[in-house]
């Protein structure tokens, strides 16, 4: 039984822009986010309160947050790596702090120079600061479906990390497919295992299209009953390991698929396509989104203007 409604979280201004060489001006980020909100998106991963030296692309997180026109029912989430980040995020009045860790030791080490255990201990600071400000903490587990250094990640490893988060009161967890290693059988197995062990944790799936099957994994997630997905406008964001490969699944392609399957999102696809078409000029290169190029399914062509085509 597929979900009737899905929540789509737009992560383009965080996961997308983080891996772009060009630093997009703050005003353009704000305009983009306000356009997303007008198009009906109600959960956004806006930015990251990490060190500006480490990620200069997102150094303006606080300014971006301040420029957003908030509406009812909106959730603005930001990544926070530690106490300092949590304090900055609280000052910026985020609705959710996203505390993150990798499912594999080597990836966590490469990413934040800590063990998984140390990262999870650091979550307590974030949880305390968030609680003091009445802010929700959301957990994110990178390399949930495989690690570029270690290969397969055992299911029980991810389930165990979700359990540690649950003990700290975190009831919403994103499973990140950091380098596009998820496959339908792994998605099914992992989602079922987490739900069996932690039935009160809401799972969000974050797939990358690095190997072309990002939306197939969404289908596997939907069929497992998962109704929360993260994606990036126009497919913004790459893969830090394979330079030519694509990164995040594309928001408007995801919304197109969901709508065609009769699943509601509350998002205006036409408005989203218009936004998406403006993103390539912002970053200065072609992006992987497909529906923004081909147009909606029932776009009609005139017979005059057409070359021969079979197939």
């Amino acid at each position: 039984m597929l979900p009737k409604r899905v929540e789509v979280t737009e992560v383009g201004t965080r996961d997308g822009l983080q891996s772009e060489c060009r630093i997009v001006p703050t005003a353009d980020k704000i305009a983009l986010i306000n356009a997303f909100i007008r198009a009906g998106i109600r959960r956004l991963e806006v930015s990251s309160f990490v060190s500006p030296r480490a990620v200069p692309q997102l150094a303006d997180a606080a300014e971006v947050m301040a420029g957003i026109e908030r509406v009812n029912g909106l959730t603005l989430a930001c990544l926070v790596p530690n106490r300092r980040g949590a304090e900055r995020a609280a000052a910026a009045q985020v609705d959710e702090m996203v505390a993150f860790v990798s499912a594999s030791e080597s990836h966590n080490q490469t990413n934040v120079n800590r063990t998984i255990r140390e990262s999870l201990e650091g979550f307590r600071d974030v949880v305390d600061i968030a609680a003091a400000h009445g802010i929700v903490v959301h957990g994110a587990i990178a390399t949930s479906f495989g690690c570029p250094f270690e290969g397969d990640v055992p299911t029980e490893q991810v389930v165990g990390i979700v359990g540690r988060m649950r003990e700290m009161g975190i009831t919403g967890v994103t499973l990140g497919d950091t380098t596009g290693m998820a496959t339908p059988p792994i998605v099914t197995t992992l989602c079922n295992a987490i739900r069996a062990a932690h039935p009160d944790v809401a799972i969000t799936l974050h797939f990358h299209n690095t190997r072309g099957i990002g939306l197939v994994n969404v289908m596997a997630g939907l069929q497992a009953g998962i109704d929360r997905y993260e994606s990036s406008v126009a497919g913004l964001g790459g893969c830090p390991f394979a330079p030519d490969a694509t990164g995040n699944i594309c928001t408007e392609d995801l919304v197109y698929l969901l709508h065609e399957m009769g699943i509601e999102t509350g998002i205006d696809l036409d408005a989203l396509l218009e936004i998406a078409r403006g993103v390539e000029p912002l970053v200065g290169h072609a992006l992987a989104g497909q529906v923004m190029k081909a147009g909606p399914r029932l776009r009609r062509y005139s017979m005059d203007a057409v070359r021969r085509a079979v197939g």
Copy 2:
């Protein structure tokens, strides 16, 4: 219940090269096809015996056919539009003639300047010539999942065309998603309707990734029990309607997905990836295939050589 084994038909040298501006040399086509065969592909849509004026990219169909190193169990298919094409295909000793028609009148008119009825009447010539040479005729129905001029194509229209083909003795039919309008619900509905009406017809699915959901449609096909798919190496071939959009689903991405789902193809994915990486230089531009860029799923990276990455 998913199929245990799937037959993948490589259509890159036909549907792919047909829409390329650059004309690939005959020797390169032959080398490509022989490499496919060595990699385990056993059904190929090699070329098209259409007018060389209409499709100069495929004017060398007979020469290409003559250069292929045939092995046991191999099926070499070529498109034939009419009696003349069938005679040329028979002389070239094809294993299958593919007779094609569109499911929508306007597309058939644009494509071959005939009504659907006239096209189907022309099939009889092809069937007669093929029979005289002991060659199988395969049917192909373009715009089966939607027409760029007319929009939705009624299910009964496609079922009816399959029925007309069946009356002529054609028991294998490809449903072509010419401009990427297929969606999972349409795939399910159409496959079920055709099987209910014509249970002895074997369905092959030919999807384009024009709107990013080509492999999702494959998943829907697999779940409907369909075990024959057509695809193009490296994602070769575009969309004649939307210049920037992608065309055929990519063979190695398809094979990657199938293998990850535990479905056999008889194809060596590593060999296929090596072939795929050689295709961009042949056509002189970037292609949409993903796995050829990212590498296989368990490709390991060294921790040293890596930028920071979260997500």
